[in-house]
Every structure is written in C-alpha cells, then in structure tokens.
Symmetry: C2
C-alpha cells in the first residue's frame, strides 16, 4: 500500500519535463502524504537558486528579500550534515533563529519538518523538505513510517531537478591531457610549481607549458582559477 503510493508518484515524477511540472508535483505530494508543505530548493553550480514548493508566495519573497537563507537553521544545519534532519534537532536557540522561526510560523510554515540534504558534483546543493503543523509524537510516528519514502522521493526529485537544469546549461566539457591533469592535481594539493615539476620529474619550464595550456582550455584567468574550474568540472580529483 505504502509502496504503491510511492511507486505511483515516482512514475509521475519520471515524466516531468519542466520546472513548472516539478512545482505541480510538490502539491501532489503534499496531498498524497497529508502534510502541510513540500519544498524542493537547490543551488546550482553557478550559485543561482531555484525552488519548487507549496509555500506561500509571500513567504518565499520575504525569505529572499531578508536573505533568510543565511539565517535559516534548516539550511545552515543541512549544509553541515549528511543525513536527513528533523527540525527538532537543529539549533533554534540563537536570537536570529528565534526571530526567523516566529516569522516562518506566522507565514504558515509548519512547526515540524524533515529536510533531506543532497549534494551533487560541482557543489550543487539541494534541500528537500516536508513540513507540517502538529504535535511532536504525531510527527515522530509520521517520520518513522515515511522516512524511507521521503529519502527516495528527495533523491528522484533532485535527479529530475539536475536533469532539467542541465538542459538549460549545456556544458562545454573540454578535457585535459594526462600531464595537464597531473599538473592541476598537484597544484590543487598546494604544491608550488617547482615542487610539481620535481614530483613529475620534468623541468619547471615544461610544467609551465602544461599549466598555461590547461588555463587556456579551461578559459581560466590564472592558476587558482584553472584549478577551481578543473575541480568544478570533475576533471581532477583531490
């Protein structure tokens, strides 16, 4: 029964082809699991933020205006954790957090919540949240029953989100030669040019050629930039 509810939803999700569709699906999910809110919110590699969810428009706008993303204990907490986080376990004691919480509840965000942090390559970060307004024990038993469903949904939601995002930004995936990869890798490990040249047993002059050609391929302004881009594109592993 639970299983088929999940299956049905994942089947629908599979067919989504736009961000609007994702938005619709958060509403479907909210009804399916009888909770107040379902929100999916992510930060792409270039730092842009996207969101899909059932929160009130006014709240979303207020959240952005007040730059609550830097205050919200849910976001701050999830950035530092791996596993899904029950809002109860977060630190709501600071002054800013208290103010935020009051404001959030006033705008219809539930007092209970579970947020699943998800990370992708190149620093993508996503948060899938279910929130509700109810007593503690009621919420605990809901979570116990649905935790696994929620994890899976978060996972597939994010997969779909990344897929849709990727289609709008086609990546020009220029690759590096083996020596260039070596060079970038050691530089990312903090070696100086002299040390890298020594490690690779080549002259420093040769090394410089690699660094410069890597810089050109990556369209980077300097070594640090090149290393950052190589890491972002998954070309080197440090």
């Amino acid at each position: 029964m639970q299983r088929s509810k999940l299956e049905t939803f994942l089947g629908t999700l599979e067919k989504a082809t736009s961000l609007d569709a994702l938005q619709q699906l958060t509403f479907a999910l909210k009804d399916l699991y009888h909770v107040d809110h379902v929100v999916y919110h992510w930060v792409s590699a270039d730092g842009e933020q996207y969101g899909a969810g059932t929160y009130d428009r006014l709240w979303v706008q207020r959240y952005i205006e007040k730059d609550y993303v830097r205050v919200d204990p849910v976001v701050v907490g999830c950035y530092q954790r791996f596993h899904p986080v029950d809002w109860k376990r977060l630190d709501w004691t600071t002054k800013t957090a208290k103010v935020f919480r009051e404001d959030a509840i006033a705008h219809g965000v539930g007092n209970q919540g579970l947020s699943v942090p998800i990370r992708g390559p190149s620093g993508q970060f996503a948060l899938f949240t279910i929130s509700h307004s109810c007593k503690d024990d009621e919420w605990t038993s809901f979570i116990e029953d649905n935790r696994r469903d929620i994890i899976l949904i978060a996972h597939y939601f994010n997969q779909k989100g990344l897929e849709l995002e990727k289609s709008r930004v086609p990546a020009p995936n220029q690759s590096l030669s083996p020596r260039e990869v070596d060079a970038m890798t050691f530089l990312a490990m903090g070696y100086s040019r002299a040390q890298v040249a020594d490690t690779l047993a080549i002259s420093e002059h040769t090394l410089r050629v690699y660094i410069e050609s890597a810089r050109h391929k990556l369209g980077a302004l300097n070594t640090t930039h090149a290393v950052a881009r190589a890491m972002n594109r998954g070309l080197i592993v440090v």
Copy 2:
C-alpha cells in the same frame, strides 16, 4: 517480500558499531541479493580512503598500489554525476580504461555493475557499488527490480560509515568568516588580489589578512590550495 528483505537488512545495519561489522554486512548483502560483489568505499575530507567490501584482498591491494582510483572509469564517472550509474554507460574506450577493465575482470570483479555516488558535507565522497557477472538483459532486469532498494541501502550504509568515521576523527570543521568566504570565492573566480580587494571595496592589505587567516584555518600551503580545500569542503560555491 522485497520490502521485508530490505527492512531486515536495514535493521541489522542500524546496529553495526564498527568498520568490521560493515565489512561483514557487505557479505550479507551479497548473499541477500545474489550478486557477486558489494563494495562501499569512501574518501574522507582529509583525503584518506576507507573501504568495506567483498572484493578479493589481492585486487584491493593492487587497486591501491596501481593508483587505479585515478583511472577507474567508475570513480571518474561518478565524480561527475549525481545519479546512480550503470557501468555500461561509462566511457570504457580509452586505453587506460581498457587495461583497467581487463585487470579488474581477471580479479573477479563482475562485468556488470551499478554504483551510487554519495556526497557529504566537507567534501566526503562515497561510492556504493554492486557488481555481478552476467548478461546485459539479466542485469538490466535485476537493476529495474532493485534500484530503489540499492539507493536506500547506499544511503544508510553511508550514514553509518560517516558515523563510524566521525567517532575516530572528531571533525575540526573549521568554518570561514563571511569576509574570508568572499575572498576565497572571488579568488576561485580568477580575480587577482588587487581585483578582489577592489570588488570588496577594502584595501589589499586587509584582503591579505583574510586570505592568510583562511589559509591557516584550512591548513593550506598557498592560495590555490586554500581555494581547492574550501571548494572541497563546500565552504564556497563557485
């Protein structure tokens, strides 16, 4: 039926308290799903690697000795993706990949596999892999049936792994101050010190203080290293 198999396993996993126990559980899993191998392998924030799995000891040793982690298309591919990857979809055409594959199969690694990449805060990266030796269509139907189970198991396995790792290395999760984050971010974007100082509207001398303190906090040898670490640990998003 499927569901209860999964439930039972997750219950057992929950009780694991050591890396040895995780190792045992990979064998249990392999029998439970009737596959050749189950491997969990992760890289902690400081770059150390751990593993638990059913692979032959000789193969693991060889893998480390030959630094196959930089060649293995599974690892390279998963670093760049978010979703679980069927080995068939990876790029096995390069010369080094072909050599690696032959060596792997000779050591009993299956010809089929599914790997789930998982990322944690502070740059942890884990890979949960199921491999098997069989025909393509047989594998495809196995994956279709068990994909969701595998994702959940990967998730819980990783949660347990991080938990066990944390107990051995109390994370010095040094965070950066807002200005330090700003500095690192612009440096990662290729700006020179002068440009960053200009952008942040502070003197270059002040900027240097931030860069140096960020370097110290991150235990980095130079600016490039500091930026690489900040990116790896998810402290900056570029």
